[in-house]
């Protein structure tokens, strides 16, 4: 049968899991993580932001003399109608993330800046592959570092497998260790970004389809009554909904302890917006999702770390369409009661032209793998060796970052 090749490739671990575990009660043979030493029952949520988040727009180095010039019309400022939220004397947070700012003040959130995976090119697909597979280069394996971490955990008599939130299991959680899937009941609809890309393609290749689709999209907006509002408003609600559901599942005594999910839409080539606008909407959604994790996990929030990561960053200088193009260094966010927060962790490279990576991107000075390894070690006690050889192969040089977890 000629299709076997692709067919096999398309299969995910989802199938095995759904056949095996129809309810939580059936998961009893799965690993137990609870740490005997201090009675904590740690949880880890990994949030992938697909499309390459603009780290400079999210956590802005207001103290860097070159920032305002590079980010131009979309740069954040200390004052004005929507002032950025100062994290320390140098870095400020995007104003659409008040919840994260509160967590940060409570020392339950931290920022790692000028961070990157080992990937140095500019393809989303390859960048996401490296971010999620945990390998140093793209396309090497069909399993993710979070799944391999799960596999390396000691087995116990109680709970739990990994939870893949969304219609498919993200690569980061795919692999030999069992996972369960959950998604809110809704037809995934085309977001504005996808629709815009398609209309653009049609405009160049098929004007009749461009006109039909544009009209269809307008009708849809008119029908749903949010003609004036940019569509990301829906994405915001969706992010909260997803987080709420995941938190509810993870809060259960026998619920999953490790989850992964992905939010799309961060590829801001044009009209990125500054304190308000497209990126602001998305960041508001992310902020809302973090708040939902916090409230949904209840008492368990104290043992939780949320890691927010993206495949790479964006150019330091804005482009000709008030957006940013694919770049390298970006940020990672940590949130949760178990985070030793209130800090922006960064070996700041500076934004002078000579300091930029290839003259255009924030130069990465921190290996994202070191951050994640630090979290995995502190939360679940994985050894240096397992982390360097199994979870993130060939990563011995990226030592686990110490002291990220309380």
């Amino acid at each position: 049968m000629t299709m076997d090749c692709v067919e096999n490739r398309l299969l995910t671990s989802r199938r095995g899991l759904l056949l095996g575990g129809a309810s939580f009660a059936a998961w009893a043979y799965l690993p137990k993580f609870a740490r005997a030493a201090d009675g904590r029952d740690p949880r880890l949520i990994v949030v992938i932001l697909r499309g390459a988040l603009d780290g400079l727009a999210t956590v802005a180095p207001l103290g860097d003399p070159d920032y305002a010039g590079l980010h131009g019309s979309i740069a954040l400022t200390r004052d004005g109608e929507h002032p950025a939220l100062m994290l320390d004397s140098f870095f400020a947070l995007h104003p659409s993330m008040p919840e994260f700012a509160r967590m940060y003040r409570d020392k339950h959130a931290a920022v790692i800046h000028a961070v990157s995976t080992p990937y140095r090119d500019r393809s989303h697909f390859d960048g996401q592959d490296v971010l999620e597979s945990g390998y140093a280069g793209p396309g090497r394996v069909q399993s993710g570092w979070l799944n391999r971490a799960l596999e390396a955990l000691p087995r116990g008599e109680r709970v739990s497998s990994g939870l893949a939130v969304g219609p498919t299991t993200p690569l980061v959680l795919r692999g030999a260790a069992p996972t369960v899937g959950w998604a809110p009941v809704a037809l995934p609809q085309a977001d504005d970004d996808t629709a815009m890309r398609l209309v653009d393609l049609y405009r160049h290749r098929d004007p009749a389809l461009a006109s039909a689709l544009s009209q269809g999209l307008q009708l849809e907006k008119a029908a749903s009554g949010d003609d004036m509002k940019p569509k990301p408003g829906n994405a915001v609600a969706q992010m909260r909904l997803v987080a709420k559901g995941a938190a509810k599942l993870m809060a259960a005594d026998d619920g999953p302890r490790i989850a992964a999910l992905a939010f799309d839409g961060w590829d801001t080539h044009a009209n990125e917006g500054g304190p308000v606008g497209r990126l602001a909407f998305l960041l508001g959604g992310l902020d809302g999702a973090l708040a939902e994790f916090e409230s949904g996990l209840g008492d368990r929030w104290r043992d939780t770390v949320v890691v927010v990561a993206t495949e790479f960053g964006r150019t330091a200088r804005i482009n000709g369409t008030d957006g940013t193009d694919h770049g390298t260094g970006t940020i990672a966010l940590l949130a949760g009661g178990a985070v030793k927060g209130g800090r922006v962790i960064s070996d700041w490279p500076g934004l002078k032209l000579a300091s930029l990576y290839e003259g255009r991107d924030v130069k990465p000075t921190t290996d994202l793998r070191a951050v994640i390894k630090g979290v995995l070690q502190d939360q679940f006690g994985l050894t240096d060796r397992v982390l360097a050889e199994t979870v993130f192969p060939e990563s011995a040089s990226a030592r686990p970052m110490k002291g990220l977890v309380v």
Binding site: T2, D4, R9, S23, H124, D200, L217, S224
Partner: protein, 535 residues
């Protein structure tokens, strides 16, 4: 061997259901010998027949409906006697598939695309999901893996047990699945496209009632497929004598006014089938017939019916000629007198209509419009008409003439894929052999082409205006996004573009896919690209 990518696109998309992904090599094969690739399937007439385990004949299915109806009736009577409210029919509320209806009832609401199209998308989403938005662990994951892939997991035990499907729903789904699998696996799909064309030309609607629903697949297997590479006259005869068509266009109720049954009862002639035979099946609306001719043909085919549950006329569910209902005496049709009594009268009339010049014109135009362009090249239509006339309606010769024409290879790819073609092409490219038809049936309902259920006897429209409409495009995009988010995870979208169009893909399409934010998005954009939408 020379490689002609543009011709490969024509071979795969205009004539077939698009290239399959994986190791099929469809694109390369089509490029090396485009005409040969298309024609290969014409050399295998038996390959058009569809036999799958469990698919039953029209009489068997008729009896199954009669038994089912008797059971429902008995259950109702028992419930009434016991003083409890009658139960609903088992399986009535299966999401995404219209429940069977009593014979005279209007089509179910969710079968009407017009009503559905005005719903907000959220409502549609709920409609599709068929349940409330609250969280149900595992449940949705099971649902979402179900689509377009063979590995659907059984529903988790925690879910309240759904009503079991009744025999009508089971049959409909099994027939749909067999057709979908065949279309997904075919090398080119040309003969399956021909089946779909003729099935739509001679359409019935499954929304007519329980018998139509259970017979829809059998009708296509029995009356269409055996003749797709045979003679038009034979297909016409098979179609008009098939119980599904007789039921759909009410001929089983038609009585000759002077027949024995007609004299005893108040009912009389029903022109429905006779009119559609001439207007839609053969001569075309301007084909030169009059109201007199319609009435005459209606009289000629009185008595064409099927045996009911009591089996007084024959084995229940079989076609029978009921002499008691047949209008006696000679009839004049299109200027010719038909003397022969009984069934032979109608068969002779149909044979003449089949070779009428208007029929050749009508079929040639519709054939070229379906495969080549909304306004097909007149020279091509004329040539197809001549072939039809010269070969006395040899449909294999007609198909061959189309493939041999230059017009079919040089006309730009401007036709819009119908929703069915779009979904099948997507499944082929993703190498997903369906094992459950549910997602396809839902999507077809949403996109306005519910399987075997057109709104009228003229079938689904076959023009760009119909399928490239604003709402349709928006919904198509939503479905592409849904497929992308489910299946985009593990694929390399550029590989798929290579399978689908290779170097015939436009730079803009390639760039759009390369620059997509995620694989999921890239897959949605690929499925919506002009290369995948136009044929």
């Amino acid at each position: 061997m020379a490689r002609d990518s543009q011709a490969a696109l024509v071979a795969l998309n205009r004539f077939g259901f698009g290239a399959r992904g994986g190791a099929s090599g469809d694109f390369v094969n089509a490029a090396s010998d485009p005409r040969g690739f298309v024609k290969a399937e014409l050399g295998r007439p038996n390959g058009v027949l569809l036999e799958a385990p469990g698919l039953q004949s029209t009489p068997q299915l008729g009896q199954a409906v009669f038994e089912y109806q008797a059971q429902v009736k008995a259950a109702r009577e028992a419930a009434t006697k016991a003083g409890t409210p009658a139960e609903t029919k088992p399986g009535e509320a299966k999401p995404g598939e219209a429940p069977p209806q009593a014979q005279s009832a209007p089509p179910p609401a969710d079968q009407k695309p017009a009503a559905r199209r005005n719903l907000s998308l959220n409502a549609v989403a709920m409609d599709i999901a068929g349940q409330s938005p609250e969280m149900k662990p595992g449940d949705v994951a099971a649902k979402s893996t179900d689509a377009m892939q063979p590995n659907a997991a059984p529903p988790p035990a925690a879910k309240p047990a759904p009503q079991p499907l009744n025999v009508i729903q089971k049959t409909f789904r099994a027939e749909a699945l067999a057709r979908l699998q065949r279309a997904t696996l075919a090398d080119c799909g040309f003969t399956e496209r021909l089946v779909a064309f003729w099935s739509n030309h001679f359409c019935i609607s499954a929304s007519k009632g329980e018998l139509a629903r259970i017979w829809a697949g059998a009708f296509e297997r029995e009356a269409i497929r055996p003749h797709v590479l045979g003679r038009f006259a034979d297909m016409l005869n098979a179609v008009e004598q098939h119980p599904a068509m007789l039921f759909f266009l009410d001929n089983q109720q038609s009585l000759g006014p002077d027949s024995r049954a007609g004299q005893n009862r108040k009912r009389g002639l029903n022109e429905n089938l006779a009119r559609e035979i001439m207007e839609l099946h053969t001569l075309g609306v301007n084909g030169g017939y009059t109201q007199e001719d319609v009435t005459s043909l209606a009289r000629i085919i009185t008595g064409w019916t099927f045996a009911g549950r009591q089996g007084r006329l024959g084995e229940p569910g079989n076609f029978v000629f009921n002499a008691n209902a047949h209008q006696p005496g000679p009839q004049v049709l299109l200027g010719k007198t038909y003397d022969a009594a009984g069934l032979a009268q109608g068969e002779a009339a149909l044979a003449d209509i089949a070779r009428h010049p208007s029929t050749a014109n009508f079929i040639a135009g519709k054939f070229a419009r379906h495969f080549v362009a909304d306004d097909p090249p007149p020279a091509l239509v004329a040539r197809l008409r001549d072939v039809f006339v010269k070969t006395d309606g040899d449909l294999k010769a007609l198909a061959t003439a189309l493939v041999d024409s230059n017009e079919a290879w040089t006309a730009p790819l401007t036709k819009m894929r119908s929703p069915y073609e779009f979904l099948v092409a997507s499944g082929r490219l993703l190498a997903r052999v369906p094992e459950d038809p549910g997602q396809y049936l839902n999507s077809l309902n949403l996109l306005g082409q519910p399987l075997w259920s057109p709104a009228g006897p003229n079938g689904f429209p076959d023009t760009n205006a119909a399928w490239a409409a604003p709402e349709g495009m928006k919904l198509r995009l939503d479905i592409a996004v849904q497929i992308g988010s489910r299946l985009g995870n593990n694929i390399d979208p550029l590989d798929l573009l290579e399978f689908a169009a290779a170097d015939a893909a436009s730079t803009e399409t390639r760039r759009t896919i390369e620059r997509a934010e995620s694989r999921q998005q890239a897959l949605a954009l690929l499925l919506m690209s002009p290369e995948l939408q136009r044929r």
